[in-house]
């Protein structure tokens, strides 16, 4: 490495200095931080009780038509891996008569080229990538989502 290369590196890292300084200042002021801990990092806080998963089997309103519906029941210990898919033991096309559960949507049989397969497409196999259970808990962050219907009916 020659001298000019070293000088170049030094100069470049000098350019970074303001960024480092600002970050350090910001970190020094805990009020400014977006944190969910709400207490000093050195303090052991009492963990909150874990809220229970809603298990009422009642469908919830979707916030927009393409929203993957949320799961209205608990799924404790339901296996979804390479070997087995417990969700499909009720929601599979051939198994809904016994379970009386809704069949997975037809979109789940489509591959990425839009062709329909005989079975659930591999890209839709891992249910929990899109579908989640819900708990009765206070949201951690505010949410100002507005339903499209409320926007449409809003007075000018």
């Amino acid at each position: 490495m020659n001298i000019s290369a070293v000088r170049k590196i030094l100069l470049r890292s000098l350019l970074l200095l303001p960024v480092v300084a600002v970050t350090a200042l910001w970190a020094a002021n805990p009020d400014e931080l977006a944190t969910l801990r709400k207490s000093d990092i050195a303090v052991d806080t009492e963990p909150q009780r874990m809220p229970e998963v809603e298990n009422k089997d009642v469908k919830r309103t979707r916030n927009y038509p393409m929203q993957p519906p949320t799961i209205p029941h608990k799924i404790d210990n339901y296996t979804v891996n390479l070997n087995a898919n417990k969700c499909l033991s009720c929601h599979d096309r051939t198994l809904t008569e016994q379970s009386q559960a809704p069949m997975v949507s037809v979109t789940h049989f489509m591959n990425r080229d839009g062709n329909f397969l005989a079975q659930v497409s591999p890209r839709r196999y891992f249910c929990n990538q899109c579908h989640v259970t819900q708990v009765d808990a206070k949201p951690l962050v505010d949410n100002d989502f507005q339903d499209v219907d409320s926007l449409l009916t809003k007075p000018e």
């Binding site: 009422k56 029941h73 087995a84 499909l88 016994q98 196999y125």
Partner: protein, 202 residues
Amino acid sequence: MIKWVKKTWKIAARPSVHYSLGFLTLGGFIAGVIFWGGFNTALEATNSEAFCTGCHEMEDNVFQELKTTIHYTNRSGVRATCPDCHVPHEWTNKIARKMQASKEVWGTIFGTINTREKFLEKRLELAQHEWSRLKANNSLECRNCHDLDYMDFTVQSARAEQAHSTFLASGEKTCIDCHKGIAHHLPDMEGVEGWSASAQQN
């Protein structure tokens, strides 16, 4: 040799001169109790989780998986151990299962599942043995703890109530038909009744 047997038999067959009938009956009874007790104690010793997990095949695979399920830890603190689910409580069934268990000793000596890979390869077969056993005895082990007669459907979740009040109550299905994999991880379920295609590429 034959002579000796004959002589011994004669002594045994001869009515006792020295001991009263009462003593002999009582003695026989006590000896019986001791033998029976010893037999049962031996049976009990092999009927504990510590015994089962003494073999690494059981300890490293199925036991570790059991620990994450409701049958190991739950809100009521009542748990199921290996023999609760795998060794029938009824006496005749108990012996039958123990005879089958000699297969496991064989398996240990010959290392049929002595590595994780071998175990996973054989898991479907082993699981199928358990499923058909539970199917054949109408899930006897489950029912030793979970008695349908005392299930209060009104406090069960809606899906449980729906399934139990129909297919279970009518006897059309038994616990293991709907509750596979409640205690351990599952093998590839492709083709098993009540399960859809798995994601394994064969």
